[in-house]
Point group: C2
């Protein structure tokens, strides 16, 4: 079956690295979902104001599945293998992702939905948008033997070298940077205390390192 | 993007008519999700026993979207039009559906998942299976201004003419037939008290009519 994008996401994550591993972990992460022709019309969205959240069915367009039946989920420390269909891994048959995000606002004239708490890289193609219907989507008695809670958050400090730059940012950007790094963006097999890592957030390049308490932000540069 | 089925559903609904309008409304509705080659291997499912529910991303293969931006949702009585992306209508761009169903059992050797509470017609192609992860999928504060509760159930009586046949069925089939009709399978623009309707459930053809209290089952035949 051939499917085509109905919308493209324009958000705060220019690169895959650093993106929270599930939707709504970083609620300050905003993005615009822009419907594209021939779907770019308010008619397609009419009535969406009746809902607080939507589902996005999207393409993991930067992850190509290599045919592996098993993957090593991050949430299991990256050591244990599981069947790909028992995980939410981005490397999967058909490469489709599913995220529930909060509607922040709807611009009907331009056919743009602003959402909060997304977990998608800039430019991600959206194949479907559906209202989140609590009575059928929110399953009270659903159980999972792991990944049962949101992952813990790490402490994030601003090193003296970056404090002046950090202070120049607006509150939203400050919160977003700290929240993204507090999720521990490093892969589980790579938690090097000596190395300096860089993450792209909005139009910023944020350099940080791991320490015993959590993370420390060392540099913040604007990408031109 | 081209996507291909990873599994096919084999269930209790041979036809679209009568299928509950959301997943888990009729919990006695069981189906087998059979992985197909090259996905027909227990490796793809390994670890799924850790979850109680799964998401199915499937194709509305019997509904062809005609390009309409607006639809008339059943839940609004079929009179009011809404943007298709503000509904769960099966007539939609890319024709993808989303349902959460309960795992009843997993046959790893044959790569078959038996699920309960499904809402899919026999032969529906499945494009993805994902574990339902409560902390990210079950949104406590999600709101909807309508479709907020499961639809009410109607009273279903067995007419004397069908009582003997009904008594021959096993308990599961009895429950399934009554539950399906209790949902009121008739479209909102078609609630004719004089007409006899037929619905296909399992290998049975069940004939019933609408009355002032609810529904009455008149005949039950086995399809050969």
């Amino acid at each position: 079956m051939n499917i085509e994008p109905i919308a493209i996401i324009e958000g705060c994550y220019p690169e895959k690295f650093g993106i929270p591993r599930q939707a709504r972990l970083v609620t300050s992460a905003e993005a615009e979902i822009r419907l594209i022709p021939p779907y770019q019309s308010k008619d397609f969205l009419d009535g969406l104001e009746n809902y607080s959240h939507i589902w996005l069915i999207f393409g993991f367009h930067q992850n190509e599945w290599q045919g592996d039946a098993k993957v090593r989920p991050q949430r299991l420390g990256g050591n244990q293998k599981m069947g790909v269909l028992a995980t939410r891994s981005p490397y999967r048959p058909n490469g489709l992702g599913l995220s529930a995000v909060k509607i922040a606002s709807i611009d009907y004239e331009n056919a743009v939905i602003t959402v909060a708490g997304h977990d998608l890289v800039n430019g991600t193609p959206i194949y479907d948008i559906k209202p989140y219907i609590p009575f059928t989507d929110s399953i009270e008695d659903a159980k999972s033997l792991f990944a049962n809670e949101a992952p813990g958050k790490y402490e994030v400090n601003i090193h003296a070298s970056a404090q002046m730059a950090f202070n120049l940012l607006d509150e939203k950007a400050k919160d977003l940077i700290q929240s993204v790094i507090a999720q521990n963006p490093l892969p589980s097999y790579h938690q090097d205390y000596d190395r300096i890592y860089g993450v792209a957030i909005l139009d910023l390049n944020v350099r940080f390192k791991r320490n015993h308490n959590g993370f420390e932000i060392l540099e913040i540069h604007r990408n031109f």
